[in-house]
């Protein structure tokens, strides 16, 4: 199949950007979106042009590194699919695809389609972990956890931190990411000790970098892991409790 690509090219963080048009020819419908870009890049390298920079690592939808705004949708048109798992059969021969980087003040552009997502690390540093002794691994099933709780935690822990929620959100909010990272620890017994410090801390850092939620649900639709906005409601409830708990204990 043959496609026309309009790709955002930007030489550096402060350089002006613009769309450039490229032809992707003889693309197999079985190839992934990133393989298609590899193909285009090989052509660019052959004629001595700068290849298109894009984010990628595992290419099997589990690392959260890739992410492109494709035709106005984060990770493209397929549901619950990261860009690397998106296949060209989702498109038709002759389509024009517009490729843009994630855009948010918390995600400054580094080059072309590559953005800096360190703001997510700042949120995690504020409590997206549990403080435990790191010696030998504890025995499995030492702490009994009901199946429903484990499932709930696992649904939240599925977040790979790709940033599609921020990219898709009309407000540039990181609620879905933060809520998932808070929820998967807050429902488990191991997460209780730091529950309220975690919730308040992570939300406060999130608000330094990102926008606020207006409950449109666009993040949920874009999420490659299909994480539910129910977690955002859970976070809101925990934040209210955290604010009052942390006051009492200080």
């Amino acid at each position: 199949m043959n496609l026309t690509l309009r790709v955002w090219r930007q030489a550096g963080p402060d350089a002006p950007g613009r769309f450039e048009t490229y032809q992707a020819t003889d693309i197999s419908e079985h190839s992934s979106f990133l393989e298609m870009l590899d193909n285009v890049n090989e052509g660019l390298i052959e004629v001595g042009e700068e290849p298109i920079e894009f984010m990628h690592d595992c290419r099997e939808g589990i690392c959260g590194t890739c992410g492109i705004m494709i035709n106005g949708q984060a990770h493209g048109p397929a549901q619950s699919t990261a860009t690397c798992q998106l296949h060209m059969r989702s498109f038709s021969d002759g389509d024009e695809l517009v490729l843009e980087p994630w855009r948010a003040s918390g995600f400054p552009i580094i080059k072309d389609l590559v953005v800096d997502r360190a703001a997510f690390d700042r949120i995690i540093e504020e409590g997206g972990y549990i403080t435990v002794d790191t010696a030998s691994a504890p025995d499995a099933n030492l702490i009994p956890i009901p199946k429903e709780t484990a499932d709930f935690a696992m649904d939240a822990a599925a977040c790979i931190g790709c940033g599609a929620c921020v990219a898709a959100c009309p407000n540039g909010a990181a609620q879905l990411f933060t809520a998932a990272k808070i929820a998967h620890l807050n429902v488990l017994p191991q997460g209780q000790a730091e529950r309220y410090q975690r919730t308040e801390g992570m939300v406060d850092v999130m608000e330094e970098y990102f926008g606020s939620c207006t409950n449109m649900g666009e993040c949920e639709a874009a999420c490659p892991k299909g994480i539910s906005i129910d977690f955002i409601a859970t976070m809101n409830k925990d934040y209210r409790k955290a604010k009052s708990q942390n006051r009492r204990s200080s």
Binding site: R6, W8, F19, M69, N71, G72, Q73, P77, V98, E100, R103, A104, S105, G106, E125, E126, G127, Y129, T131, P170, N171, G172, A173, E194, Q197, R198, E200, G201, V203, E207, Y209, F210, G211, S212, C213, T214, N215, M216, G217, E218, E220, A221, A222, I229, D230, I232, A233, T234, M235, N236, K237, D238, Y239, R240, K243, S244, N246, R247, S249, S250
Partner: protein, 243 residues
């Protein structure tokens, strides 16, 4: 990393802290609580307002007596008009909070994406009502101003001096332009309610997977009842059902 978390309480906490609600309001999540709680107050108000106005269909006397009664709630326990004015002040306070929080959150969201997407966004979940909350909110706000000037203060009401409230309503809604404005404003209110009533459950953290699907039904039902009732009044006057 661990020490950073514990710094939030204990030793480094400021000696004197602001009241809980002030501190909560400083966060965007707290502002969303304000949006939701004031929204619930308005929901109660618009429902009662619509229901009370159904008296237009009973008779002029019933409607005017009802308007009279609103000023004398709890009289003589409370002074004449006291309860009504307390309610008015509460509604005005809620309105100021709702609009201020909305304004501050909008600023925050603009700053979160100063550089917007160049290509056209293809929204999947964000519906028209959700994306136009700021516009429908502004329309409703302007409408509230006009509505008060029309009936509460009577500044722009076309009825003659000394007219009863019923006569004022008829005079106002007999003008096709005014009736049209009421229809447009109430459709905007409907869009605002459709998203707002659903949205408040998320903001308040009221979430239960067993009941979540009812939130949308409630939003639709509430919007249809309130806006349907409100729309019927100018239409009824225009078609001559009440005069």
């Amino acid at each position: 990393m661990a020490t950073k978390v514990s710094e939030r309480g204990g030793a480094s906490a400021p000696a004197k802290r602001s009241p809980f609600l002030v501190e909560l309001y400083r966060s965007a999540l707290g502002k969303k609580y304000v949006m939701a709680i004031t929204g619930i107050i308005f929901m109660g108000y618009v429902l009662a307002h619509m229901f009370g106005n159904l008296k237009l269909y009973q008779s002029a006397a019933e409607f005017n007596a009802y308007a009279e009664f609103l000023g004398t709630i709890l009289y003589p326990i409370a002074p004449d008009g006291a309860v009504l004015n307390v309610l008015r002040v509460m509604l005005l306070g809620a309105l100021i909070l709702h609009v201020t929080a909305a304004f501050q959150l909008t600023q925050m969201n603009r700053n979160a994406r100063p550089d917007s997407y160049r290509s056209k966004r293809d929204f999947v979940a964000a519906d028209f009502a959700a994306r136009t909350m700021r516009w429908t909110g502004v329309i409703v706000l302007l409408f509230i101003g006009y509505h008060l000037a029309d009936f509460t203060f009577g500044w722009v009401n076309p009825a003659a001096e000394g007219a009863t409230l019923y006569e004022k309503v008829i005079a106002s809604f007999s003008n096709p332009a005014i009736a049209g404005f009421y229809l447009v404003a109430n459709l905007a209110l409907g869009l605002h309610l459709y998203h707002g009533v659903w949205s408040l459950f998320q903001s308040m953290g009221w979430n239960n997977r067993r009941f979540n699907h009812w939130r949308r039904y409630l939003a639709v039902a509430f919007t249809v009842v309130v806006v349907g009732g409100n729309l019927s009044f100018p239409i009824a006057v225009q078609v001559g059902l009440i005069s």
